[in-house]
């Protein structure tokens, strides 16, 4: 079994700050780490490897510093790591990002056939959730998103439970295929000492757009179909009405009256 996990380096969620004057994101100084959702994706890949034998590869597209999340992946049980890094990728939307990742996956696949690609549900920065389904579209592989449990995996296929608003759907996907997973899928383990040592020594394979044979007309802010034209901080309510009273009863009566008056109930 050869599993490819996709991970992205994102700001640690509690470190995100917005410049109040410009409404822009202050990236400098913000600590980054592996997108929290990708920890679950990687863990599930490692669990499946432990059950079925094989190898876990990890790919990321990102600036040079994103190498850190690949080393972290080794510490968490990955075997081989690949980084797509090139100025040509800068500013890509999900259409272009998924194209680049699919081209990278194709190149890995040529050397060693991939059975399964696992993505997180979404990132904690731009959080579109597009990338998993879109990689599968470029590769023309079947996919499932919002996967919360692997029911069964063997040599031929994987059976998964997918979360919907009203229940659970069970799907069978033959390899090769792509799944995007929610956090319920796994419990990320703590990094082992051995893993940390391996992380330091690991070789990070680095590829440019040319290395993966990507069409540069499909990459980067100049060529991708969507563009962020404006960003601003949302307006937030910060002047709560304090519902006071001598005791719980009084407060409750006052709250119910306020909610009724404003037709919320």
């Amino acid at each position: 079994m050869h599993i490819l996990a996709c991970v992205k380096q994102t700001p640690k969620s509690d470190n995100v700050k917005i410049d109040p004057a410009t409404g822009c994101l202050i990236r400098s100084g913000a600590e980054s780490a592996m997108n929290p959702f990708d920890e679950y994706a990687l863990e599930e890949a490692v669990v499946l490897k432990e059950q079925l034998g094989g190898q876990v590869s990890v790919i990321t597209m990102g600036p040079p510093a994103a190498e850190n999340v690949l080393r972290d992946s080794i510490a968490r049980g990955a075997d081989k790591v690949y980084q797509l890094s090139d100025m040509a990728f800068a500013g890509s939307d999900t259409w272009s990002t998924s194209y680049a990742l699919a081209k990278g996956a194709e190149k890995i696949n040529e050397a060693q056939k991939i059975d399964l690609i696992i993505c997180g549900k979404q990132t904690n920065d731009s959080d579109t959730g597009h990338i998993g389904p879109q990689i599968s579209a470029w590769l023309n592989w079947p996919n499932a998103a919002f996967v919360k449990r692997v029911v069964k995996a063997d040599e031929q296929c994987i059976v998964v439970e997918r979360l919907t608003e009203s229940g659970t759907e069970i799907l069978q996907l033959p390899y090769p295929c792509v799944i995007s997973v929610v956090k319920e899928i796994s419990n990320p383990r703590v990094r082992s000492v051995k893993g940390r040592m391996a992380a330091k020594r690991a070789e990070v394979v680095k590829w440019t757009a040319d290395d993966i044979g990507a069409d540069k007309n499909k990459l980067g802010i100049q060529h991708c179909p969507t563009r962020v034209v404006k960003s601003f901080s949302p307006q937030r309510n910060t002047n709560a009405v304090v519902v006071d009273g001598a005791n719980g009863k009084e407060k409750a009566a006052k709250l119910v009256a306020l909610l009724k008056e404003n037709k919320y109930i």
Partner: protein, 329 residues
């Protein structure tokens, strides 16, 4: 690009019912169609779904495109995305809104690649820029800390998934006339290697979170799993549903599908009552779109006591029974 015309919305069907998101998309789509002077069209995909076409006309669609086939009975990504792309290439819509439900988010993403176009994710507002007729879709990102407006200038259709409950439901005018256009399913082309095996309806009590105007949510402050019984009582009294912050989910007090926040669900009810929830940013990311937030917390300095619209300081085990009592009167 002139040949790309009209505003489309995807009317999701779940368990043999039109999803309420369809009516919300008809409201959003109507404002785009009117601004452009184009038609508003709904798309129905599924098995035995043609019967819903009149309902969509009644709710404001000028035309309905239907692809009705037994192969579409269940949602398999490839089959749906290829069919939808077939319809896009055949009829060339200008804008295309889909619901940002689980189905809509994965379907819109895959379809956008097949159609070779851009997609804005999970927007809460869409409008037409009067100078060039492009769609401006605005969406919360970074856990609700940053709003971003996205455009798709060069490719058509401009696609966008729209967060449930961002728009009111369109009004119903029974008997409205409009065209119903059937699109033939191509069993040779619209295939997938994936197989749908089974659907299991969730056993959780009560209403689905995306279909209710009132949500009563509990946090670590409940102290125990049984604490939710009280919340179910209040939710039932208000005709709403029960949700949670991450802490009770991690503690196994309640199922994950009820978690609100960055790693859970985003909801947009009229009324959100947060009980024993401190209001960490990752939680607020999921509920800050509520029309009104009530916080019940014994710590007046908990962050949620500032972010809520109404802050009630007190022990939830005292305040909630008192609310129930008041409501009985």
């Amino acid at each position: 690009m002139k040949e790309w015309k009209n505003v489309w919305i995807l009317a999701e069907v779940a368990q043999d019912k039109i999803s309420p998101t369809a009516y919300e998309l008809l409201t959003a789509g109507r404002s785009l169609a009117d601004a452009l002077g184009e038609k508003l069209c709904a798309v129905l995909l599924g098995h035995d779904v043609k019967k819903f076409a009149q309902d969509l006309l009644d709710h404001g669609a000028d035309a309905v495109y239907v692809c009705d086939d037994v192969s579409l009975q269940h949602y398999v990504d490839d089959v749906y995305a290829k069919t939808l792309n077939g319809m896009i290439q055949a009829y060339k819509p200008n804008k295309f809104l889909l619901p940002a439900t689980n189905l809509g988010r994965s379907l819109s993403a895959k379809t956008a690649i097949f159609a070779g176009t851009g997609l804005t994710a999970d927007a809460t507002e869409v409008m037409i820029n009067p100078s060039d007729g492009q769609m401006h879709a605005t969406r919360p990102t970074f856990g609700g800390n940053l709003m971003a407006t996205i455009t798709c200038a060069r490719t058509r259709p401009e696609m966008c998934s729209l967060r449930p409950m961002s728009y009111p439901k369109a009004a119903c005018v029974p008997g409205k006339k409009g065209e119903v256009i059937e699109f033939a399913f191509d069993a040779e082309k619209y295939t997938s290697l994936a197989k749908f095996l089974q659907f299991i309806k969730s056993e959780g009590e009560g209403l689905d979170l995306s279909e209710t105007d009132v949500i009563v949510a509990g946090g670590r402050g409940l102290g125990k799993a049984e604490g939710f019984d009280l919340l179910y009582k209040l939710a039932e009294r208000l005709g709403g549903a029960v949700a949670a912050s991450r802490a009770p989910v991690d503690n196994g007090w309640i199922e994950y599908r009820r978690q609100i926040g960055l790693t859970g669900r985003t909801i947009k009810p009229k009324l959100y009552i947060a009980c024993g929830i401190s209001g960490q940013i990752q939680h607020m990311a999921g509920c800050s779109g509520a029309d009104v937030i009530v916080a019940i917390n014994k710590d007046p300095n908990a962050p949620i006591m500032k972010m809520a619209h109404y802050a009630v300081e007190g022990d939830l085990y005292e305040v909630i029974p008192a609310i129930l009592e008041t409501l009985e009167k």
